[in-house]
Amino acid sequence: MIHFLLAFGVLAAMGLAALAWLPATPRREAREARDAHDPAPTKTASAGEAGWRRSSAAGALAFGLGASASYMLLRALERVRDGALSPGLVLRASHVGFVWRTAVALWLGGLVALVVQALAARSPAPLGAPSAGATGERRWHLATALGVLVLGVAAWWLA
C-alpha cells in the first residue's frame, strides 16, 4: 500500500507540474494580471535589491529540495551503518534520533540554500530567467521534475 501511495504522490506532483505547460486562455491572463498586486514592484527597487530577491527566491526553493535530500541521505547512511530495519532496532531507538536527523537536515538545507543563492546572484543569465527564453525555462522545469523523481525513488527505497 505504501508503495502505491508514494507512486501516487510523485505522479500527482509531476502531473500538477505538467499543467504549467498548458497555454493560458486570454481571459485567464487578464484576470491574473488584474489580481496580481506586488507591494514592492521591481521597477522601483534598485537593481541590487531585485537581484537579491531573485537569487534568494531560488535559494528558498533549493532549501526545500536540499533539506529533503539531506534527510534522505542521513537516513540512507544510518541504513548502511545499522543494516536493514528491524523491530529490535526501532524499539531500542529513542525519539531523539529523529529530532537530531531533522535538525541536521534543516541545517544542511540552509547551507544548500546559501550556496544556490550565491551562485544565482553571481550568474549573469540565471537558468530560467526571462532572457534564457523558453528553452531555459523548460530546462529549469525538467531539472525540478527530475529532482522530484529522484526524491520519489529514494523515498520508495527508504520506505
Binding site: G9, A13, D35, R53, F63, R75, P87, L106
Partner: protein, 147 residues
C-alpha cells in the same frame, strides 16, 4: 478522556487541513503568475498548518515512543514500521512547504519561472502530506493513545 488522545486528534486535524490547503497554491501558481497579497498570506497559512502538524507531532512523539510503540509492535509490526516511513515523509512535507512559501514572498513580479518551481514544491508537499495523513490515520486505527 486523556490529554494525549486529544492532542493526537488536534495533530491529525492540522495534518488533514494542511494536505487540503497546500493543493491550492500548487494550482494557483502553476503558470507562474504573480499572486495577490491575500493569496500570498493564504499560501503562508498552508505552510503554518503543516508546521503546526509537525510541531504537535513532535510534542506527542516522546510519549508515543514510551507508551504506544511497544504495544503497536505487539499488534502489528508492519504498522509500527510504517510509522518510521511517516516520520521521513513528514520532514519532507514541512521542508518543501516552507521553501515554497519563502519563494512566494521573495520572487519578483517577473520571476515566473521561480513561482512555477514553488508550484512544484507545493504540489509535492501536498501529495506527501496526503500520504502522511493516510499513514497516520491507518497507524492510529491499529493502536493509539486512547486504547
Amino acid at each position: 478522556m486523556s490529554a494525549l488522545a486529544l492532542l493526537e486528534g488536534v495533530h491529525g486535524h492540522f495534518g488533514v487541513l494542511a494536505a487540503a490547503v497546500l493543493a491550492h497554491p500548487a494550482i494557483r501558481l502553476r503558470r507562474g503568475a504573480p499572486l495577490s497579497n491575500g493569496a500570498r498570506w493564504a499560501s503562508s497559512g498552508a505552510g503554518l498548518l503543516v508546521a503546526a502538524a509537525f510541531a504537535t507531532g513532535l510534542w506527542i512523539y516522546p510519549r508515543y515512543v514510551a507508551l504506544v510503540r511497544p504495544r503497536l509492535f505487539g499488534v502489528s509490526e508492519r504498522a509500527a514500521l510504517l510509522f518510521e516511513t511517516k516520520e521521513h515523509l513528514a520532514l519532507m512535507t514541512v521542508a518543501t512547504a516552507l521553501g515554497a512559501v519563502a519563494c512566494v514572498w521573495l520572487a519578483r513580479r517577473e520571476d515566473r519561472d521561480l513561482r512555477r518551481g514553488a508550484a512544484l514544491l507545493f504540489a509535492l508537499s501536498s501529495a506527501l502530506c496526503l500520504t502522511v495523513v493516510a499513514l497516520g490515520t491507518y497507524i492510529a486505527s491499529v493502536q493509539t493513545f486512547a486504547r
